[in-house]
């Protein structure tokens, strides 16, 4: 097995696949590592295997993702699915486990395309079995053709909530309620961004289409919901919430949550890249230049992992990052790179046109960023929001001190789920911006790895 490569791409979603295609189009071989068994990222998961029925339910945008997979047939591509990256150094050495064996690779140029994860949506009972993210429900559909058929409640905010609802309707499933938490003031706050968004009107028309379909199907729709609580002892049995009409309860067996997605920064944090706080998207993203390059020479980030831009804009970023890498490897001169970049830059600008509008419209409600004291914040170690606030009262300034005092972020998910949440809770308790509070220091391994696998890093 070769131990070094001119270009390694981590993540086979839209950004990673587009980066690979651009590299190969210029004759540069690439290694593409992906954690999942099949390429496409979360947005196009399973698209290579999905049959006609699944594609029909999931819609045309999903089915089109299959075009991106063509690059996998290129002989210059060394595609390694099922690769769990668990250590990456600032010197661009990568350790990963694949089919039970440890492999290592040194990259001249590295493009991280680690995508997005769902923003946690905490409220009492959100840890019960049967409560899942909307993304999880989509993955079930995309990879296995499995869907909840009845007693479904969708709760939260954002385009994915509506998209999933229409996809579930297409399966014939019965939705018990759609509980939107979008605060009513968001509509006004988003209005100034609408003209820019109309430069890419597709997104807006699609959204209006979802709304029309859901209304036509008669899905019970509750708006400006707050004070959510999942009911049940051993599994979810219902959702209680408050809206303009008062407190309501809806029985359910599947409660699907969504309040937007945030960059998956686990690798970029473990590399200790500088991260910037985005106050509108309420998340951190690594600091990058126009080619996605970070402050570490040869380490670039493309796609949602570098800040939420969506699938189409991620494709453009993947191409741009690959052009940057080609330039740094001397495969392209500056003029050639810039010439080739122009159409991608134009694509990018068009695709991100609606972003600020969506960010403002679906900006999460403060109650779910800073949940009530009894709500579990760190699911792994079962640390409540109230505990985190106690640690602030004891003098903890940031999440690393809180982690030391109460174990939040020390479980197997390594702070992925609670990271933003703990920073938000501490910032709120201290009356400062999350930027001032900071984020967990992410330590290797990036994924839990057996001691036996780790021992293989030692030179004999």
């Amino acid at each position: 097995m070769k131990r070094s490569a001119p270009l390694v791409i981590v993540g086979a979603g839209p950004a990673g696949l587009a980066a690979a295609k651009t590299a190969l189009d210029h004759g540069l071989p690439a290694v593409l590592l992906d954690e999942q068994p099949a390429a496409g990222g979360q947005i196009y998961r399973g698209v290579g295997e999905a049959g006609e029925g699944r594609r029909k339910v999931l819609g045309a945008d999903y089915a089109k993702g299959a075009d991106l997979l063509r690059v996998l047939a290129d002989k210059g591509l060394d595609y390694r699915p099922g690769a769990e990256v668990w250590e990456m150094t600032r010197e661009r050495e990568i350790f990963f486990t694949r089919q039970g064996a440890v492999e290592r690779l040194a990259a001249d140029q590295l493009i991280l395309c680690t995508g997005a994860i769902e923003r946690p949506m905490p409220f009492p009972g959100w840890t019960l079995p049967g409560v899942m993210t909307c993304g999880a429900a989509q993955i079930l559909l995309k990879t296995a053709g499995v869907y909840p058929r009845q007693d479904i409640v969708l709760a939260g905010s954002g385009p994915l909530l509506l998209l999933l609802a229409t996809q579930l309707l297409a399966t014939g499933a019965k939705i018990a309620a759609l509980v939107e938490t979008t605060p009513s003031e968001n509509y006004k706050a988003a209005l100034p961004y609408l003209p820019a968004a109309l430069q890419a009107p597709d997104y807006i028309f699609k959204g209006l289409g979802f709304i029309r379909d859901l209304k036509r199907a008669g899905v019970p729709w509750h708006k400006s919901a707050r004070e959510l609580e999942a009911l049940g002892d051993n599994a979810v049995l219902g959702l209680r919430f408050r809206d303009a009409a008062g407190i309501r309860e809806v029985a359910c067996g599947a409660l699907l949550l969504h309040q937007g997605v945030v960059p998956n920064v686990q690798i970029s944090r473990s590399l200790r890249l500088e991260h910037l706080w985005d106050p509108l998207q309420r998340c951190w993203r690594p600091k990058l230049d126009d080619w996605g390059l970070s402050e570490i020479p040869g380490v670039a980030v493309a796609g949602d992992g570098g800040g939420i831009v969506g699938a189409k804009a991620s494709e453009a970023q993947g191409g741009l990052a690959a052009l940057g890498a080609l330039r740094r490897l001397g495969e392209l001169d500056t003029a050639a790179r810039d010439a080739k970049a122009r159409s991608l830059q134009k694509d990018f600008r068009r695709e991100v046109a609606p972003r600020r509008f969506l960010d403002a419209l679906y900006r999460p409600s403060g109650a779910f960023l800073r949940p009530s004291d009894e709500t579990i914040a760190c699911r792994c170690e079962e640390v409540t929001a109230g505990r985190i606030r106690e640690f602030v009262a004891l003098g903890c300034l940031g999440p690393n001190q809180a982690k030391a005092f109460g174990r939040s972020g020390m479980g197997p998910c390594q702070g992925r789920v609670c990271g933003l949440l703990v920073s938000e809770i501490m910032a709120d308790a201290r009356g400062v911006s999350p930027d001032e509070v900071g984020y967990y220091r992410i330590r290797p391994p990036i994924k839990p790895v057996t001691l036996g696998e780790m021992a293989s890093m030692a030179e004999d």
Partner: protein
């Protein structure tokens, strides 16, 4: 709540059936399912009890992020059910609390 699974499958007759065993009981699944998807489709929502307070948990993210779907799969503890493909004859059980350590010279302790 009706008995059985609240999950259903799209009709996909081309996929090959596989059978895995959950807590000793046969569970029908289809080739290409993750273990977590196969169990959910069969109506199994609870995968583990936390080693902290014993609380019941099941799949939350289905993409390898949350570690809520930890299972013992073919004798290996704490595997992410959403990241392992279901296979014929696979033996799967819940993770109840902290894992044991198996010794080649003796039983887990």
């Amino acid at each position: 709540m009706p008995s059985g699974s609240i999950f259903a499958r799209l009709p996909e007759p081309d996929r090959r059936p596989v059978t895995l065993f959950f807590e000793g009981e046969p569970v029908g699944a289809l080739q290409g399912d993750s273990v977590a998807a196969a169990l959910l489709a069969a109506g199994k929502l609870t995968f583990r009890a936390t080693p902290v307070g014993g609380a019941p948990r099941g799949p939350y993210c289905m993409m390898g992020v949350c570690f809520e779907c930890l299972l013992e799969i073919d004798g290996v503890a704490n595997r992410q059910g959403c990241m392992v493909q279901a296979a014929d004859g696979m033996r799967v059980s819940r993770m109840l609390g902290a894992r044991g350590l198996a010794d080649s010279n003796g039983p887990a302790r």
